[in-house]
Symmetry: D2
Subunit: 294 residues, 4 copies
């Protein structure tokens, strides 16, 4: 179903071009902060500047982070700077500004009385992003490991959205997967889908037998003590956001091989990452509220 | 690790024999309300009566429901009646009484200052019970359907623990599974594991094309309007607890074939159902608290 | 694509009604040996007798077995007997008679110079039938086992079409599956999809630890020696055609619980079983030859 | 079980070091054509030259190809040249020489009356190699595709060992997989595991809707006509051995993006590739014959 709403995508990297393209299936869609060369989809109207007769819109879609300095939009592909305050007149009364981590930019819209939605806080976006994150992790493992994932002994720390997705994908490819999780209910679930499960307490006694250890928990579980017990051939992949789950000093001192992987969705699957943002925005605009709470 | 604790299982059907057997791996385990014939495991001490020198215990394990009348334990296999108040002296100070739905029995233990835990409220038990429930549902579908699940078009209503487990199992067997869920995040997850997903709104327009419809939502989603659109050959399986998800009068009037399945874990997999209760109890007794909150 | 060919389905049980219905999507389809009540599909023309102006057909489809006595068609639902020789004039010159195990009936058609095809010999039919067979086996296991398949230790003997399908389905449901196969390449394949694999030699030393043993090999692998080592709680499911894989005398003497399951496709999924026959026939009639050899 | 046999691994790249390490679990194992630095496993005796008291062995294991010139062993890591004829005295009477593609080297051993086994002809090795090949293909797809495999529309041409493994892995990761296969039985099998299946005839009419096309058939199926119908964004991955499945001239002229991937096991998973060779050799040496025929 096509809506009469008007949406303007402003700034961000290439993936926001795919966001714009995906939004254009539902809304009249404009883009600012891109050239036609980097955003070649005819169904999206690429504007040359905020001055150039930009229509008043029902929604703006800003990147993640919204701004690096709190003054201008984060718009690395834009031919000109895009001050945040210049966006205010582009939103119709009652309209919405979407973005990922507003930071200081929040103030600009609050002052103007404009509703903001941080799409990174949306449950559905996190669920969807687990897919490109897990695939990015698989890619790194396939590149870095000298043996097949099938038959490898893999320990996945954490069983949230990313941990569970990664564990299932690895299991489906034939890896022998152990999940370490604090909650009994998570361990029970992991076992029910064919993984082995252990508590996170006592990790030092567990880690020795694995070819790969993937961390998804944003807490330093891989301490010096635990790292000392890791097999010398093993690879540690840290997927947790800063500060991550590895004591880096200790890893270096102990010569444990660690790969730190962040922002996988945007880096390894920009089309999908862009489409996920579009889907989340679309859902909120067409259902008129938080989709998960509806 | 074997604990020095002493546990007494009292009453319930055969599955509680398996609970006792599984508990005996960790604790000194006694059983009351059974004969040796129905509980033939030598590692469990079967007591003949509450009078007969029952030791003071760290925990009692009562069945679900704990009592039918609020006076005696629900103990269909017991040679004698087991009044609830007679159990009070069997619990040591600081001990715990486990049970499933205490109802009026709650009062007896509250008055005596004894801590009670309803294991049916434990997250880990619910997660674990989704496995026998989904297998029980598969069994019914295999029995009732004249075609293979592989290739069948199945609609699963709801994507909680049971809905998601059932959807994945059916997908793994080759069924073409659609999930209807209210939350966008659930639909996103269902799609990511290979199912189709639709919102629950507008169900009447969706149900027509399915060979099987499995309901797991405890709300009447299968109203007269929706049932009118169900294919005449289709089977409806209702797994939701009372009042269930089907307008029964309408189903009857419209000749829609409905199977109502309740208490599947105990009926189709009593050994596993008993072991799940034991695991939940063991976890709480050995970790000294709610395992999921630890 | 609809063909101008004319096909006549003769005799057999209810599943052949579904064969006729499925054939009618491609051919002008007639049925003989049924009443309209048991074959209620308007797209199939139900003939009352072979005398009643039956059109000359491009193909006849006979049941499995074609005949019990070599004289009449195996037609348990027919209001009258259907002698084999009466079918000869119903086939056009150059036409084909399909059937499952012709036995003595072969002679009738050979003498008349009519080409016969035994659909049970077709590779594609065997591959397709593995699905209802494996689902029938799952149904029996779900009915007979007091524990969930998830977590059960299952031994599958043989890794042909049925063994591999069953092993994968059980693995997908969370069972811990071991495959016993003679060929290293089969064991390698089983391991690659997540099963454990052992040679069939030395079976007596292996069988002790299993909750379920499923045989798919048509040779007596479960000898007295092997059966002696089976766990007393275990269930043995024999899916192999006569004489099967179990020494029955020994099983009885040793009180090993054995379930013998034959003809599962027709019994547990008649619609699918009928459609599989139709698909095989259609493929040969439209490709003009053996589909696998084309 | 450890055998008293003596095995000598000669030449090849790094993966043969892993072959030697794996063989040392079963046999007294020597290596020639390596330095200790590149083959650091203490359980393998690294010989400095063929002259240096090499023991007479039960089996030699040569690389693939055995020789580039028919004169010397293909030994890129060797400090010195290793003439084929110098190996003859190293094999005991009745011993075996294993290698991958003997070519002209065959003559040397035939003349000396020494039995040779080409491990690339072993069914079990081919089955096992499908795993690293499919994982290598996944790695390339993850690297090259700007969207997730989950949700992508993938066409797999061919359903042999590699095609079926790749199709299943992609399906397990959530891709929407179509298999094109000539044989009805292969298509039936692909459908039974949840893929869509189409005949290879009429490919030009099918290819348009896919994000990825993976070829595993060693015949030019992707002709100019077919390539003309491929979507401009699509990626073609050719896994078939020379001459491959793509008309390269046409692909270039039509600007179709093609990646040609050969020898994936050795390149992407040398440890596993080496172990697979060891397993095949071990099986033949311990069973005394072709394992699949036993």
């Amino acid at each position: 179903m096509r809506s009469q709403k008007r949406v303007l995508v402003i700034g961000g990297d290439l993936r926001y071009g795919y966001t714009a393209r995906a939004l254009s299936r539902h809304f009249d869609t404009y883009a600012l902060g891109f050239t036609r060369r980097v955003l070649p989809f005819p169904e999206v109207a690429v504007l040359e500047s905020a001055a150039q007769g930009v229509p008043v819109c029902d929604a703006l879609v800003l990147p993640m982070p919204v701004s690096d300095d709190g003054v201008c939009v984060n718009a690395p592909l834009s031919p000109q700077v895009l001050p945040l305050h210049s966006l205010v007149p582009l939103v119709r009364e009652g309209g919405t500004v979407f973005g990922g981590r507003f930071g200081k930019a929040q103030e600009v819209f609050d002052k103007a009385g404009i509703r903001t939605v941080d799409y990174l806080q949306e449950e559905a976006l996190s669920v969807a992003n687990a897919v490109p994150t897990a695939e990015g992790a698989l890619q790194i493992l396939l590149e870095e490991m000298p043996r097949t994932l099938c038959g490898s002994r893999v320990l996945v720390l954490g069983y949230g959205r990313i941990g569970s997705r990664l564990a299932h994908s690895l299991h489906a490819l034939g890896a022998r997967v152990t999940v370490a999780a604090r909650r009994l209910s998570d361990r029970t679930h992991a076992e029910a889908v064919g993984c082995r499960a252990v508590p996170t307490a006592g990790l030092a006694g567990e880690v020795g037998g694995f070819d790969v250890i993937c961390n998804t928990v944003p807490a330093v579980l891989l301490t010096r003590e635990v790292l000392s017990a890791v097999s010398p051939d093993a690879l540690v992949l840290d997927l947790a956001s800063k500060p991550g789950g590895v004591d880096w000093e200790a890893a270096k001192a102990l010569s444990v091989r660690v790969v730190w992987a962040l922002s996988l969705p945007g880096r390894t699957a920009p089309v999908t990452a862009g489409e996920i943002i579009a889907r989340t925005v679309t859902d909120i605009l067409t259902e008129g509220g938080n989709a998960d709470g509806a």
